[in-house]
């Protein structure tokens, strides 16, 4: 039986929806919950003469010399360490765990097709690099400053008075003494700035605000763009950052001009990725302005809000196609609504059986096992 490995975490609905579709198509999905390591998972690699063996065991996971056709590098989760570690032992334990887990990712399925490949991800997510390469390729980008230099930042804000937006490099939320904090893309003015020494320790991205007719979320499945128009200016909460109001957003099918699509493909090729979610602004005069590209972007919200875009089915076919697999001839399009209930049941079971990542809205941070359990 063909098999696909999915690196994920227990609140990742995308993983469960895709797993459900793959199983219906006769492909075995194997979900690897990374934060189960090291408390709930054990792993070993060993040599035996010329042979090399790998074993990873944990709840619902038994990887011993398994062969996978494809790996979906969806949400590779950091290890979660227990609370009862001696504080002085924590940092070296974290380093050991990370080193070993990163090795396991590279060793678990070297002959499989990876979506996206492991190594390029580390550079593909770097926003200053994206901006430079996008500009070199000919995509229009906003006037931008990435900096921790207070003087340069103040000059930039004055030059774009009242029309500068601030983005952090890392969009995740984090735990504070009061609860949780999250940073969204938002307008910034000089009075918002803290003292210079606190600007200096907190570099960020500053961009001239671009007038919007609408925004595009373009999910590239290999060479094929799936474009969705997001009518963010019509929703006040979404005017600067549509993630803030994604539940109330109107989403429609859209077209991407061939020239813009070609430049996006070139950028993906340069970044070394085969799956990407692009965020673009379309200005009132029809220009397409590149904001950023996410190699691990969300996409099911598109079909949820616009069932005319069957992106779950298209993603699953893309994943199999990369691995030289395909559903049986004539297999009809699977809709998100058909698998939603089953996927939610899978997710409900996973939240009980596996260790959660630090936050449902973060990239990866390393917190303790019990902190995750409390959430």
């Amino acid at each position: 039986m063909s098999a696909v490995l999915i690196l994920t975490e227990p609140r990742d609905f995308h993983a469960f929806a895709v797993a459900e579709v793959l199983e219906r198509w006769g492909v075995e999905p194997v979900l690897w919950f990374g934060a189960d390591f090291p408390v709930r998972q054990s792993a070993s690699v060993w040599t035996q003469g010329p042979d090399f063996h790998l074993e990873i065991r944990g709840p619902e996971l038994d990887l011993r010399d398994r062969r996978f056709h494809a790996v979906w590098n969806r949400r590779p989760a950091a290890p979660a360490l227990p609370d009862d570690l001696h504080p002085a032992d924590r940092e070296p334990a974290v380093r050991d765990c990370q080193h070993f887990v990163w090795s396991l990712w590279h060793l678990v399925a070297p002959s499989a097709v990876w979506v996206n490949p492991l190594a390029p991800i580390h550079t593909a997510i770097l926003k200053p690099l994206q901006l430079r390469w996008a500009g070199e390729i000919g995509l229009e980008i906003p006037p931008s400053l990435c900096s921790n230099d207070p003087q340069r930042i103040r000059e930039f804000l004055r030059a774009h008075r009242g029309e500068t937006i601030y983005k952090s490099f890392y969009q995740g939320s984090w735990k504070t003494e009061e609860g949780m904090a999250a940073v969204f893309t938002r307008l910034i003015e000089e009075p918002d700035l803290p003292e210079d020494d606190m600007i200096q320790v907190s570099p960020g991205i500053f961009q001239a605000r671009i007038p919007k007719d609408h925004e595009l979320r373009v999910t590239f499945l290999g060479d094929v763009p799936v474009a969705a128009r997001i009518r963010s200016p019509e929703e006040p909460r979404a005017a600067v950052d549509w993630r803030r109001a994604s539940s109330g957003l109107a989403v429609e099918p859209a077209e991407l001009p061939p020239d813009v699509a070609r430049k996006c493909r070139t950028l993906m090729e340069r970044l070394g990725i085969c799956f990407a979610a692009f965020d673009l602004i379309v200005t009132p005069d029809g220009r397409h302005v590149f904001l950023e590209v996410n190699p691990m972007g969300q996409f099911l919200f598109i079909e949820h809000r616009c069932p005319e875009i069957p992106i779950l089915d298209r993603f699953c076919r893309f994943l199999l196609d990369r691995a030289g697999l395909a559903p049986a001839a004539g297999t009809r399009t699977v809709r998100l609504e058909e698998v939603r209930q089953a996927a939610e049941e899978r997710m409900r079971a996973a939240t009980k059986a596996h260790t959660a990542t630090a936050s449902p809205h973060s990239d990866e941070t390393l917190t303790t096992h019990s902190e995750r359990e409390r959430r």
Binding site: R11, D12, F13, H14, A17, Y166, S168, S173, T176, E178, G179, M180, A181, A182, V183, F184, R186, I188, D192, L193, P194, E195, D197, M198, I199, V201, S202, G204, R243, R244, S246, S247, Q298, L300, F301, E303, H304, L336, R340, Q341, E344, E345, M347, R348, T351, S359, P360, H361, E373, R374, R375
Partner: protein
């Protein structure tokens, strides 16, 4: 008193529930039916 970074100055306080709703809305749904909600003690609540 400890100083606050630019990032912290630009951030906003957000409840776990708000956070979960935003994350859920990007997945598919702001509050998927049938998916449990947990309180701060990790207990499942309605």
């Amino acid at each position: 008193m400890k100083k606050r970074t630019l990032r912290r100055c630009m951030a906003e306080e957000i409840s776990d529930d708000q956070l979960r709703r935003i994350a859920g809305s990007l997945q598919t749904d702001p509050d998927p039916e049938g998916v449990p909600t947990y309180n701060e003690k990790g207990e499942e609540v309605d």
